[in-house]
Assembly symmetry: D3
Homo-oligomer: 190 residues x 6
């Protein structure tokens, strides 16, 4: 499958500017995934920011949390669905398919998460993420209570909020610079 003809609409970054400490990180991407995700190439335009982005991202999506890695990716896809972010729907849709080994689940979350037959606990999590994305000023105590009733702790609520917030951030950067995903994502777990 052909790669997209651009990573972003901005001037491409030069990998020679990659901070030394991130060289092993890029290498690990190439070893494990076979490619460096274009989001990193995009952020490399501002190398000093790339470092902070990687740290925040890895803790948020891979660090210890009451949310499983799959649940965090599910939020990523649902937020990106509201925002219609092509990059994130492709990259994190692939992550959902890979982590769940369920080729349809990624499609459902990307197209309309309400058709998915989820556990009530996960459904509550996604409804919170959806509403917080679409109409953040309408979130209130009843919404937090709905999470509490599904046994999400206060620390979990913080994590749900932060993952939701984070993809509202990256979705906007991706839209703003016309970021295109690596072609490899399309073939994962079909």
């Amino acid at each position: 499958m052909p790669q997209p003809d651009h990573v972003t609409a901005l001037a491409p970054a030069d990998e020679a500017t990659l901070p030394d400490e991130l060289v092993p990180y890029f290498q690990k991407c190439r070893d494990k995934l076979g490619f460096v995700p274009n989001v990193l190439q995009a952020w490399l335009l501002r190398p000093e920011k790339l470092r902070n982005f990687v740290r925040l991202y890895d803790e948020l999506m891979l660090g210890p949390s009451g949310l499983s890695k799959l649940e965090r990716e599910m939020i990523a896809v649902v937020v990106s669905s509201w925002n219609r972010c092509y990059y994130c729907l492709v990259a994190h849709g692939a992550a959902v398919r890979r982590l769940s080994d369920d080729a349809q689940l990624g499609e459902m979350l990307a197209f309309n998460h309400r058709v998915a037959d989820l556990a009530p606990r996960q459904r509550a999590m996604l409804e919170f993420a959806w509403k917080l994305t679409a109409t953040p000023h309408e979130i209130g105590q009843p919404d937090r209570d709905a999470l509490g009733q599904q046994e999400w702790t206060d620390a979990d609520i913080f994590d749900i909020a932060e993952v939701t917030g984070f993809f509202n951030y990256t979705n906007r950067v991706a839209h703003a610079v016309d970021m295109m995903p690596n072609a490899e994502y399309h073939g994962i777990v079909r």
Copy 2:
């Protein structure tokens, strides 16, 4: 002026969990501002995340950029205006007033940025931030071109996009946990 009766609606964090490396940071806040911003108290619920948040924030808002610190705060307020985020409007509205020494400018950006009599270059920056916040999937090449015509470079466009994205993230966390700003902000540059 009385402090709000809660920092967030979640269980309060215990400052004893503050990572050692951040102790001087909190102390610097107390020395310089007279208080630790509640956003840090809120993030302390997840101490390992607080560290990443502080690093990203300081680089984004205070590090080298083609945008002045005031311009970055202006974006913060305009994004928070769309999202109707009380915490960020209070805290970053105060920052705009302090950095500009203009008591009305913060009000204008918070209530309706279009009434402010800004240079065309700043107006273009804020229109981009507003549209990227409100309808991210409608941003396109004409919007990037409008920034370029005002002599914003590609690196600047990245920074405008990232600051805009970032406050769409923190606004949502603030709404999600009902974060309340320190009372001290209200009195700054009135």
Copy 3:
């Protein structure tokens, strides 16, 4: 603090056209407030309409009602928040601060009224005003019942509706002519 460089974007009115009967009214403004509110200067473009406007306004906001003057100003600010009307947020935000002697309350109502810790009766009043402003055709009997359950009488409901309606009127005139508030409002009760 400097005055704005224009009262409206239209040709300025000449105070010589002020109807005789309103001369004492303008004088009273100067005596009590120290200035004539710009909304009156704006309406003076059509002097015969200014008279009716003043009468309606004074009865609506200062006349006998089941709503306190502060409550009427609270509605004014919440309606203006939805409509993002700079003039009315500044002028009536100041009125809320003055009547409540609470510097934060005006900010809360202007930025996001849901963060304010209000009595349920006032909260119901503001939720009605917000919905009637945002989606008037969705108001129905359940919304009126919610007011009745908070001991608002039918005459009170009429007054809540009328104050809400009235600021949807003046907000639109202010937007349409780019009306700017007097600088003095900014300093009141900070």
Copy 4:
């Protein structure tokens, strides 16, 4: 045609409370129209407010202006169309049909004003009213300029803004109290 079974959802007003000075006004309605418009019956719940309402209304809709009476009624219908206000669409739709002697014009303005084959000057007036109703905070200098290019003066722009604002007020009161129009309107100029 049967009258509606209620004037409003609130307690009905008693005509005995009609202020003396308005007795001839109600009589004139009965003589000229054959009935007292229900909006007046509704406002009679607050008799002291009815007087101000009548004065403002008569000056606004019938007094001297650069807008013809028909043009003011056209704005009334277009604003009420956006707000989906049954009372005002029926009453002012009838007024448009009567003043224009054009049975289709009222329908067009009520259902979708863009299908009407209007002069560019009137079309500009209605587009301004529509936008000012729907998204007031997006009105700006280009919108005022578009009116000026159609030879609307500054005083006319004020009147267009005020009529537009006024029906955003009465539409909301009508929705809030479930006001029903007199049956007689339906039969006018069909």
Copy 5:
């Protein structure tokens, strides 16, 4: 009453292209209604499609169903009200007036269906049609259950959905080609 000056904004169709099998159909329209509805003249631009359209329409609106013909026309008007479709509001508003012999009912459904004093079963039907038109992706099991509770069967729910869907189709074709209704509709049952 004058006919509109165009049927659509596209090149007019030539009735000579009418498929033979539809000649009696057009004749029946002229005999029964006194005219051929302009929607058929519009579709005649693509004669082979006209045939399918007529068949689908006649079964949908006139064939056997748990919904009365009036109920199907009520849905047509409510859908067209959301979509602000002039053609369908005029043509199907007339049908509601004719089938119900109630001159006000058509106005109510066209302007704001919630003011009509309907049986709960019909109200549930129209609320479903309204929501399915406005925000189709928010329809869920609770909405279907609300219909079931009003004794609508599964086949009825299918028919409600199909009539709602169908007018979302024809409304869009009418808007897309600027279709104008025959003048005769305006005079029916006033």
Copy 6:
């Protein structure tokens, strides 16, 4: 890949009720596709309607037109993207992939059609379909002119409008009955 556990949320239809004339049609589906699309199973609840649906659909999507079959499927996907219709995004996304032999094109149109690198003529077609879906009452002569400038004829404009309208119909029926797509679609041209 497992089949979904339901075709719709309504009582399942019995294939014994299939009209005789459609038996070969279902057989042809099984021969060519390997399955009967669930949309046909859903419509079988009302067998007499299924016949009309099939005729209309086949003419619309497969009959002679100035739009290629792929172009019609592209519209189907873009309309379904706005409406977030899972069934149609899966089924017609697969059709776009199959007809274009481009695994990414279907994803682009489903997630955010503006990222696709299309010919201006097709882009104009999709922008028209998108706007006609989202805000039908805002379509006007400039939108039709934009199609004409890309050499779409009046008959083509009719077909673009009709395909757009049609998927606004079927999307709503699919949402209303919770229609689930056959699992086979997911594997096509990945």
